[in-house]
Amino acid sequence: MDPARGHTRLSSSKKTILRSVLALGLVLGCISAVKREDFKTCAQSGFCTRNRAYADYAKETSNWASPFQLNPPSLRLQAGVLKGELINTQEEQPSSRPALSFELQLIDNDAVRVRINEQDPIHPRYDGVQDTVIVKPYGLANESTYQFKQEGGVTLIQYGAQNQNTIKITSAPFKIEFLVNGVSTIVLNEEGLLRFERLRKNQQESAEEDGDGKLVDQDAEEGGGGGEIKIEKSELEKKMEENFWEERVIRHVYGIPEHASSLSLKATRGPGAPYSEPYRLYNLDVFEYELDNPMALYGSIPFMLGHSKNISAAVFWMNAAETWIDVEKNIESKSSGILSWIKTKPVLTPLTKTHWMSEAGVLDLFVFLGPTQRDIFRQFSSLVGTTALPQAFSIAYHQCRWNYNTQQDVSQVDAGFDEHDIPYDVIWLDIEHTNGKRYFTWDDAKFPNPTDMQQALEAKGRKMVTIIDPHIKMDNDYHVSKEGSDLDLYIKNKDGESSFNGWCWPGNSQWIDFYNPKARDWWASQFSYDRYKGSTKALFTWNDMNEPSVFNGPEITIPKDVIHYGGVEHRNVHNLYGTMFHSATAQGLIQRNETNQRPFVLSRAFFAGTQRYGAIWTGDNLATWEHLEAAAPMLLSIAISGISFAGADVGGFFGNPDAELLTRWYQAGAFYPFFRAHAHLDSKRREPWLFGEPYTTQIREAIRTRYAYLPFWYTLFHEASVDGMPIMRPMFTEFPEDEQVFGMDDQYMIGNALLVKPVTKAGITQSKIYFAGNEKWFDIMDYDKVEQGPGFKEVASPANKIPVYQRAGTIVPKRERPRRSSKAMEHDPFTLVIALDSQGQANGRIYLDDGETFNYEKGEYLLREFRYSNGVLSSHDPNEVSSSQDQDWPTDFMRRFGELRIERFVILGNKSPLSQVIPHQVAGLFCAFTPVKQVLECSQGPSGGHICTVKEPQVVLGEEFVIEFK
């Protein structure tokens, strides 16, 4: 380390502290363990500083106009693609520099892609993010689906399923406006802040810009980020760009995870902005992260969704380099409230402006105009991929700890669950299970028989997960390390020759270069049973530290100037590294066996598209009430940005939760898509039974509730895998018209049916909850308790439950028999909870397959739509077009699953008691068996009408049915 550099760091960190004190004053009075000075502020980032300064300059300059102009004669729209050139009128010698290329694509799913790049650059900009992020080549809009018109300096394109969308491109100054049904929704470069820093040659050498001379890294002073590796002169590309988009009528913007902050993004600029720093996207391992903060965390998704009462729109800024995003909210309301605002559409004042700054790459962004959120999620996920349908066990409960110390420890914890009759599916082993942090190995003294251990778990339908990180201990006697060296698979130092090494858990380590296709294949092959000794098909994987975390690197990560396969500098691809690792691991699990099994891999780092490979979690949180509270907004932000399979460590990673906090966390965690308890090495044991009664019973109930709703969860995962709908949904996704919920992130929906409000304060037995919509809500623990929307209401939330309500108008499938694992429920019958709305109607679905293989891709699944209307309940296959498909019926699959029966209907919200069950088309009626005995029992609830239970309606999942109730 250069000592001078060390001093620089110290002084700048002092500055930072001073700054934050000045800016935040007493508001931020708490002391936190995060070492802020380890992580950069905008002021310490050259390109962020320059771009913020540019924004200030633009604001202070009267009649500021963007210096960029489109060259109108060059605009051509052909086969869905509009191409042109952008000229920067302020560049000193415009003639000597080629203009920027501009391209706009109309995609066949109604999304629009905008690309700006340098033409003939000295060194080409990195443009490879699309190769890994875009799931498959997409089609462009057919010429017949859009209209194109140029008038003066304005180009108009009309497109969309109902021709509802308009793109208005102004040439000088350059601006693109997106309108939905005539309402301006998103404007690019409205404020004229587009900048595109070009590569320059080293000025000291005062050479011309064409030759092969050395290029100056404009960010040299901060490029290395303060670590030991200092960039002075980079011979590689260096560029940055930025843009500005804004939403005219949109007050709330969401997304751009991962930040420990609210769901609705807060202003970072402008008067009264709660944050002074921009939201930062740069995957980092942050120790004991601070809450209510725009600091970068473990993952990055540059996707932002805007929403107002009748408009939803989104952008995806496809860039994997370090990115900062400023949010400005114009709160001066002109004359009227928000409501009238929308109505006076022609002259709207912008409300939310965002300013995007990336360090490298090309400008490549997608605009999604919906018009509904469901459309946006479908459009976005059709580009970056939907949630992979998970192994069914992986959406059940996971028991983790750093560390379960020995094989005996594992079997005792396993036995503890049975003894206390608490279901669980997976037990996890953290880094201590390895031989000296050499992944793919075992500490033989502590785990002498890993295969036996996994088989014992599997005999009870349970699984195991071991941790595998991307840092490889430097040790020639370690086969993975040696092969990596022999095959030359590590990330290189900036010289492009020697392998980079740094420090992580095992000490001196090297990092696999997952951009190298050979390295990915090789890595995947490490998971075969013969290479990963002691692994069985019951063993799955956890990828941690993949930001990557490098203990002695700048900002605890790898330096930006290390080199990947193909000479790509790391700064271009940083935020994608963890995902490349995640995908190679998932591939390894897929190809390790011939039984067609789905993988399960948990990752800490993530990027757009991670949902194709597995689950993520919110990293190393703390055992505090505040962190429990922060989990919901964090998970919601992640969910709407495409990753549904996510959770927060139940109990909190660092520290010791007391019994109440732990119990409340289990109650909340039972409604996270990924449900895992985890604890730090230094924390006390906290397996669910260790706090004694009444906590053991309360935690058991919470976990059992999760298991009872597994059919519902699995159905939601299916939906997410098909059309990208989030599983955990913000209130505004389900109630897009209700402004009351736009900023709400302390309660949320699971699918369209369950409303969840975690209890996040100690000693609380009453919760204020908002019941949206005009329909009833049924307490899932006590169907007698019914609330009527809309409005806030105080409801009881005693120690044994958090408020969870089923929405009227929905049908939710459950399995109510307590079992020790999800696998043990495989043959259990179902219960349908039918919550009738005021019209006496309800709808719902169930999806079912074998829960572990890819056979569903061959059609081996069951999808049933349930409808209740006018006293008639029907089940039918929504996908069924004709009956020709089931010639060989019953298939093995149908034998296994089609014959599973529904043992119970619970019908809530009946206006009068039902007394008669009339099967019109029920399986049994076609056969000559003893008449079915359906027993119907009704009771009257205090406020919610009559609750009726039908015992053994004699229907099976595989058969359509129609049953009338009177």
């Binding site: 060390g6 110290l10 363990a33 070492k35 380890d38 391992d285 120790f287 110390n405 020995t406 005996q408 420890d409 009759d421 003294a445 005999a459 009870k460 339908g461 420090w503 858990w505 000490g507 001196n508 203990f551 002695n552 090495l681 230094d682 924390s683 006390k684 044991r685 028999r817 307590p818 079992r819 020790r820 696998k823 043990a824 429920m825 495989e826 043959h827 259990d828 019958p829 009956s883 089931d886 019926w889 019953p890 089609g898 014959e899 029966r901 043992e903 119970r904 399986a923 049994g924 076609f926 056969c927 068996f929 003893t930 015992k951 053994e952 004699q954 099976v956 595989g958 058969e959 359509e960």
Partner: protein, 564 residues
């Protein structure tokens, strides 16, 4: 969907029910079937009334008797479904012919798991297929073997425990009688002898003191002159010691606050945790010395000086030397923890806070004697003897005094030996060695267990420790944890960084030999010791075989299982 297939699905459902109806055992009274899963002891609860109806066991509801085990949960308490998983509460009874009958939770019926408790596989009957093999014969045989093995251990253990009990009883009596004897001896003769010798010694001392009193002023003046330079020097050292200690505390504090936690450098973590321990001990010391501090604090400087003048030069010097030892001891502790870090820390991290601390230690290294815990150039001062008084009269008085001293020492030694023994006996008699005194045998017996890293030891009713290159104190015996006298708690061990005070839970099980069979650390700094000992073996009556497993093959049950 095609109607024909519909039938198929239903056939299965109904057939399963039909089969179970045919398969249930019948009660001895009439032909009313006993429902599946009901244990023999509960058979009487499953009897229908005249209308063939039946009341849930909690009385909540009356259902048709045929609704029992119809794979649907009717009763709140789950009592209508002892043979299916429909309720998931309650128990399913497996007859396990060839082995021992047992009950499992009904949530485990038909869950695809072959529960070892149901070796006959009767819990896993799904769609006519018994998914788990009947392995009761093998299991039964194995269990018998195991039973025999355990029986042998218990038998031998029982004998040993009886010996322990005998020993406990006799040792108690022995100790009690020895105690009486010693008490009598102590009060009867020893105390008097000591008192007499003391008298004699006091007299001799009195004479000598009187003589010395006469020459006091001269002697004190001489002594003061002799010691004055040493006192000055010791004052200086005290200041140096305090300053150095403060410097090191500051160094450690800086290290603690400013080191980079992201590096997870264990050497640094250890140093910080040792520093935290140090600070907590300091504050403990502070609180215990608070009272005396206050007293000192109330006096003015003058008063202090006065008292200084009044106290002898020897006392002054002694006090100063003692005072100096405190910072020196602390310096030693801090030096060692920082020096330990310096040897182990990861130089690659370039953590400035760590480097600063290392620098301090490197500067300090040459000056400090780690063995003697003092500055190398300042070895502790010897207090020179007082110039002797050499007159014949003095010699004679001294001689007499020394003789009286010897006599007194002998007498008081004798008495304290007896006192110590009395104390020891009292301690042993006070220890809770169980209602039958079986644990008396184990008092102060020590056992060790070695794992790959550490050697653990425990002396029963004493202390537990963990040894590697150094010894960590895990706590001392505090109580039994249960009424059965099989779990002991040792508490109050060394404070753990980021954790509790170390403690041990010692669980005992029956074994022929006393041995520590495993030591684990389920939670950080909370240890679990497992000890085998005859002291917890069951006491078996003489000349009887250990209990055999009792199967209850009622004839009807047997028939049923043959059918199945």
């Amino acid at each position: 969907m095609k109607p024909h297939s519909v039938c198929l699905s239903l056939v299965v459902v109904v057939a399963t029910l039909a089969l179970s109806a045919a398969a249930v055992p019948t009660s001895y009274e009439d032909d009313i079937p006993i429902p599946d899963g009901v244990s023999p002891s509960n058979e009487h609860l499953y009897v229908p009334d005249e209308a063939r109806r039946w009341k849930c066991l909690d009385g909540s509801k009356t259902i048709s008797f045929s609704d029992i085990n119809d794979d649907y949960c009717d009763c709140k308490d789950g009592s209508d479904e002892p043979g299916t998983s429909a309720c998931g509460t309650g128990y399913f009874y497996c007859y396990n012919i060839g082995h021992v009958g047992s009950s499992i939770k009904t949530s485990r019926v038909n869950d695809g798991v072959c529960d070892p408790e149901c070796c006959d596989g009767s819990d896993e009957l799904y769609r006519e297929v018994r998914r788990c093999p009947n392995v009761c014969e093998q299991v039964g045989a194995k269990a018998k073997e195991e039973q025999a093995r355990i029986g042998a251990i218990q038998e031998q253990g029982s004998r040993l425990r009886k010996q322990y009990i005998e020993h406990g009883k006799s040792i108690k009596i022995q100790l009690q009688s020895e105690l009486e004897e010693l008490k009598t001896k102590k009060t009867g003769q020893l105390e008097k002898a000591t008192l007499d010798a003391k008298d004699k010694l006091d007299k001799a001392n009195g004479m000598y003191d009187k003589y010395l009193e006469g020459t006091k002023n001269e002697r004190e003046a001489a002594r003061k002159k002799q010691l004055e330079p040493l006192i000055q020097e010791q004052r200086r050292r005290l200041n140096v010691g305090k300053e150095t200690k403060n410097h090191l505390v500051q160094t450690c504090q800086n290290l603690k606050e400013n080191h980079n936690k992201n590096y997870h450098d264990l050497a640094v973590k250890d140093a910080v945790s040792a520093f935290d321990d140090f600070v907590s001990r300091q504050s403990d010391d502070d609180s215990t010395t608070d009272e005396s501090d206050e007293k000192e604090g109330t006096g003015t400087e003058e008063e202090e000086k006065k008292s200084e003048n009044e106290s002898s030069a020897d006392e002054q010097l002694k006090t100063l030397m003692d005072d100096t030892n405190t910072p020196l001891r602390d310096i030693g502790t801090l030096y060692e923890l920082l020096d330990g870090m310096r040897r182990e820390y990861n130089i690659e991290y370039n953590d400035e806070a760590v480097l600063a601390a290392v620098k301090v230690i490197e500067d300090f290294e040459d000056k400090w004697d780690t063995v003697r815990r003092e500055f190398k150039d300042e070895p502790s001062q010897d207090i020179p003897d007082e110039e002797p008084v050499n007159t014949p009269e003095a010699e004679k008085l001294k001689e007499e005094t020394s003789q009286a001293q010897t006599e007194y020492d002998t007498a008081s030694n004798e008495e304290s030996k007896v006192s110590n023994r009395i104390q020891d006996i009292n301690r042993k008699l006070e220890v809770d060695v169980g209602p039958d005194e079986a644990f008396a045998q184990l008092i102060d017996q020590c056992f060790e267990y070695k794992d790959t890293e550490y050697t653990y030891s425990v002396c029963l009713f004493g202390e537990a420790n963990q040894k590697s290159h150094s010894t960590t104190y895990l706590g001392k015996f505090s109580s039994w944890d249960d009424d059965d006298y099989s779990v002991q708690i040792y508490s109050g061990g060394t404070q753990c960084w980021n954790g509790p005070q170390r403690s041990v839970r010692l669980e005992m099980s029956c074994g022929v030999e006393n041995q520590l069979v495993s030591v684990t650390e389920p939670s950080k700094c909370e240890y679990l010791f497992k000890l085998q000992t005859p002291a917890v073996c069951p006491v078996l009556p003489e000349h009887t075989e250990p209990k055999q497993p009792v199967a209850k093959p009622s004839s009807s049950a047997k028939a049923v299982h043959d059918e199945l």
